[in-house]
C-alpha cells in the first residue's frame, strides 16, 4: 500500500509505502496516515465497483481503508467558495 499526498507545485508525493500484512510496516503506515489526518487533510481510496467502474471512497481512519487497497490519496479538505483570480473566471473559461 502506498500513501500519496497531492501538493501545489509538485503533484503527488509518496509519504509511506508498506505491506499491511507486515506489522512493523503497517504501524508505519498507520502513523503516516494519522499525521496527515491530523494536519487536516482528507483521505480517499480509489476503488472499483462490482461492475468495474472506477470509484473513490473517503476514509476517516486507517481501519476504514480496505486491506487490499493499493493507494490512499491525501488532499486538502474542501472549502466552499473558490475565489476568482484577477480578471475573473468568466474570461478564463475554456
Amino acid at each position: 500500500m502506498k500513501l500519496l499526498r497531492v501538493k501545489p507545485g509538485h503533484g503527488e508525493i509518496l509519504l509511506a509505502e508498506g505491506d499491511v500484512d507486515v506489522p512493523e510496516q503497517e504501524l508505519e503506515l498507520i502513523e503516516a496516515f494519522r499525521r496527515e489526518l491530523d494536519a487536516g487533510l482528507w483521505a480517499a481510496v480509489p476503488t472499483a465497483s462490482r461492475d468495474g467502474r472506477r470509484e473513490a471512497e473517503l476514509v476517516k481512519s486507517f481501519d476504514e481503508v480496505p486491506r487490499d487497497a493499493e493507494r490512499v490519496i491525501f488532499f486538502p479538505r474542501a472549502a466552499g467558495g473558490a475565489t476568482p483570480p484577477a480578471g475573473g473566471l468568466r474570461a478564463r473559461t475554456a
Binding site: 507545485g9 482528507w42 472506477r54 473513490a56 473517503l58 486538502p76 466552499g80 475573473g88
Partner: protein, 203 residues
C-alpha cells in the same frame, strides 16, 4: 590606605576584564552574525525559493498521471481532449448515463450542475481545495490534482461536497454560453467516439 585600595580595585577590574574577554568576544560575534543574517534575510525578502520555470509543468505531468490512473479510460480521454470531466449525478432515480443530472468539473473553477437531456444549467457549486502549507508560495493544486480531488469527493460523498460548497445560479463565475459551448463539444466528442471502432478509442 587609599592608594592600596585603589590599586586593588584597578587590579580587580583588570582581572574581571581578562576573565570575561572570551565570553564578551563570543557574545559580540554571535550578535554580529545574527544581525548580518537578519539583514540578509530582509534583503532577500520572505521565503525566497529558487526560481524553477519547469516546476508547475512537471507537477501537472505528475498530476495527469495520477488522475489517469484513478478514473475511467473514457473519462480520461474526455479530460485530455476537452479539458473538463463529466460526472453523472448519483442521487437521482437513475445513475450512470441515464442520470437526470450531471456535473462538469473544470480545474480551479466551480462545479457546474446541468440536465444532460436538455442541456439546461442548474447551479454552480464553488468549491476549492486550498493547501495552506503553500510549499511554493501558492495554495493551488496542479490543475489535474484539483480535478481529481473534486472527482474523488463527488464520487465518494456527493451530498456532503454539494452541501459544503457555495451554491450560485449559473453565470456567477462561469459564462453560461461557454458552458453550453462545452456541452456541444462534449456531445460531438461522444458521437465521434461512438463512431470509432473499439480499438481506435484507446486513450
Amino acid at each position: 590606605m587609599a592608594l592600596a585600595l585603589g590599586t586593588a580595585a584597578v587590579v580587580f577590574v583588570a582581572l574581571l576584564c581578562e576573565l570575561g574577554r572570551p565570553w564578551a568576544t563570543r557574545t559580540a560575534r554571535s550578535l554580529l552574525a545574527s544581525w548580518r543574517a537578519r539583514r540578509e534575510a530582509a534583503r532577500r525578502g520572505p521565503a525566497q525559493i529558487p526560481f524553477d520555470p519547469g516546476r508547475e509543468l512537471r507537477a501537472e505531468h505528475r498530476a495527469r498521471g495520477l488522475l489517469r490512473s484513478c478514473i475511467e479510460p473514457e473519462d480520461w480521454a474526455m479530460y485530455r481532449d476537452l479539458g473538463f470531466l463529466r460526472v453523472w449525478g448519483k442521487l437521482g432515480e437513475e445513475t450512470g448515463a441515464g442520470a437526470p443530472y450531471a456535473y462538469l468539473i473544470y480545474p480551479h473553477r466551480p462545479i457546474i450542475a446541468y440536465v444532460p437531456r436538455t442541456g439546461a444549467l442548474l447551479n454552480e457549486y464553488c468549491v476549492a481545495f486550498p493547501d495552506q502549507s503553500k510549499p511554493y508560495g501558492s495554495t493551488l493544486l496542479p490543475d489535474s490534482d484539483d480535478v481529481l480531488a473534486k472527482w474523488m469527493a463527488l464520487r465518494a460523498d456527493e451530498r456532503a461536497l454539494i452541501k459544503d460548497a457555495n451554491m450560485h445560479l449559473p453565470g456567477r463565475q462561469v459564462d453560461p454560453e461557454l458552458v453550453r459551448r462545452d456541452l456541444g463539444r462534449l456531445s460531438r466528442w461522444e458521437r465521434g467516439r461512438a463512431a470509432q471502432p473499439e480499438g481506435a478509442r484507446a486513450a
